[in-house]
Symmetry: C2
C-alpha cells in the first residue's frame, strides 16, 4: 500500500475519534451543567439544542462530508458526489434547527434577549450563508447536468476554497459561542476559577480546533488526494447514454 | 503579464487596505471607548496594548510575513527568507509585549484577575507556542546552513501547514478576545443594544476574518506561487563558495 495512505488512515481514524469525543463532550456539558434539553416552554434550556446540533451538523457532518472523497477513495465519483450533497443536506437541516432554537431562546425569554448583536451571531450567520451559497453553486456546477466541463474545472478550486473557508468560519464561530456561553452561564463558581463546567468548555474548544485542523490537513495534503478510478469514466459514459 | 498576477495584485492591495483598516479600527476602539493606552500604574487601561499589539504583530505582520514570497516575487530567495524571519521576529516581539500587558492587567488589578482560565487564553497561548516552535524549526531547516536538501524538501509542506494553522488560530483567538472584551466592558449601554463600541467590535472581528481569508487564499492559490528566479541558484552557488 502507498505509505501516504497508511498515515492517512491513522489520521482519519483520529479525526473520527476526535469528532465523536467533541459531540459527547458537548452533550455532557449541556446535560451536566445546563439542564439538558427542552422545548419552547423552557427557552433557557431549549437553547441547549443550539450548541449540540451545531456541533453535530455544522462541524462534525460538515467536516465528514468534506472528507468522504478522501476516506472512500475506491467508491465511484458519482456516488461520492451524491453522498457529499446528502451529508451536507443533513448538516444544513440540523443547522437550521439549531438556529431556530437560539432565536426561540431569545424571543421567548422574559424579558426577550436581543438577536444578532454579537460577533458570534454575525460570523456564525455568515458561515451559514457561505455554506448555503456553496450548496447551491455546488449543486448547479457539479450535480445538475448541463454545465460545460470547462466551467466545472474553473469552479472546482473556488468550491474547495469556500467549502474549507465556511468550515473554518463555523469552527471560529463555535469558539466564540462557547466563550459567550461560558461567560454568561458559568457563574457559581465563576468561569474565572476554572470549575468543571469551565474546564469542559475549554476542552470542547480545543477539540473543535484539533478536529478542524485534522479535517483541513486531510483535505488539502496533495498525497491524500483521491485518484480517479476506471468506473468514474466508464459509468459516466454509460449513464450519459442512459439518461 | 500573466493574467493570474493581475488578480493577485488587486487582491494583494485589498489585503493591505483591509489589514491597515483593521489596525486603525482597533486603535479607534481602545482610544474612543476604553481610555487609550497606559502603563502599569493603570492596569485596566494598560490592557489595551494587548489587542493593539496582537493585531499589529500577531495578525498583520504574521500575515504579511507569510505573503512576502508572493508579493516580492522578483526578489531573490535568500533576501526573502531573511525578510520572512525578520518580520516574524518583529511579530514575535510585539506578541510578547502584548502578553506581558495582559498578565500585568490581571496581576496588578485590585483584586487580581485570574490568568489563563478562558478558552481565549488557552488557544491564544497555543497559537503563540505553535508560532515559536515554527520559528525555531524554520530557522534550523531553512536558514541555518547544514541541513540536507532532502530534509528541507520534506519539511516545507509541514512548515507551510503549521504556519497557516498558527495564523488562523491567532485570528480565531482574536475573535474570542474581542468577544470577551465586548461582553466584559461594553456595559452602558449594553453590548446587546449594539452601541457604537459594540458595532465597532463586530466590524473589527469581520475585518480579522476578511484579512485572514485573503492571506490564506493568496498564500495557497497555486497560480500565485513564486517561481524560482535565475539569481536564486546563481547567488546560492556563489554564496556557498564565499562562505
Amino acid at each position: 500500500m502507498d505509505p501516504a495512505l497508511i498515515n492517512f488512515k491513522v489520521l482519519y481514524v483520529l479525526t473520527q475519534l476526535c469528532g465523536l469525543t467533541m459531540i459527547v463532550l458537548v452533550a455532557t456539558w449541556i446535560g451536566q451543567h445546563f439542564g439538558g434539553l427542552a422545548g419552547t416552554s423552557n427557552p433557557g434550556v431549549e437553547f441547549n439544542w443550539h450548541p449540540l446540533f451545531m456541533t453535530i451538523g455544522f462541524i462534525y457532518l460538515y467536516g465528514n462530508s468534506i472528507l468522504i472523497y478522501r476516506g472512500f477513495r475506491t467508491t465511484r465519483k458519482k456516488t461520492l458526489k451524491l453522498t457529499h450533497a446528502g451529508i451536507h443536506m443533513g448538516a444544513f437541516i440540523l443547522t437550521v434547527i439549531a438556529l431556530k432554537t437560539v432565536f426561540d431562546s431569545h424571543n421567548l425569554a422574559n424579558p426577550p434577549i436581543p438577536n444578532m448583536y454579537s460577533l458570534h451571531s454575525w460570523l456564525g450567520l455568515s458561515a451559514v450563508i457561505v455554506f448555503s451559497l456553496q450548496y447551491v453553486a455546488g449543486f448547479v456546477a457539479f450535480l445538475a447536468p448541463g454545465l460545460r466541463e470547462n466551467y466545472r474545472i474553473a469552479m472546482m478550486p473556488l468550491h474547495i476554497y469556500f467549502g474549507l473557508f465556511g468550515f473554518v468560519l463555523a469552527i471560529a464561530s463555535a469558539l466564540m459561542g462557547i466563550t459567550e456561553k461560558a461567560i454568561f452561564a458559568i457563574k457559581t463558581p465563576a468561569y474565572s476559577t476554572l470549575p468543571p463546567a469551565g474546564v469542559l468548555a475549554n476542552v470542547i474548544g480545543v477539540m473543535y480546533v484539533v478536529f478542524g485542523a485534522l479535517v483541513v490537513y486531510l483535505a488539502t495534503e496533495p498525497s491524500y488526494k483521491r485518484k480517479p478510478i476506471p468506473e468514474d469514466t466508464a459509468l459516466l459514459n454509460s449513464s450519459s447514454v442512459n439518461e
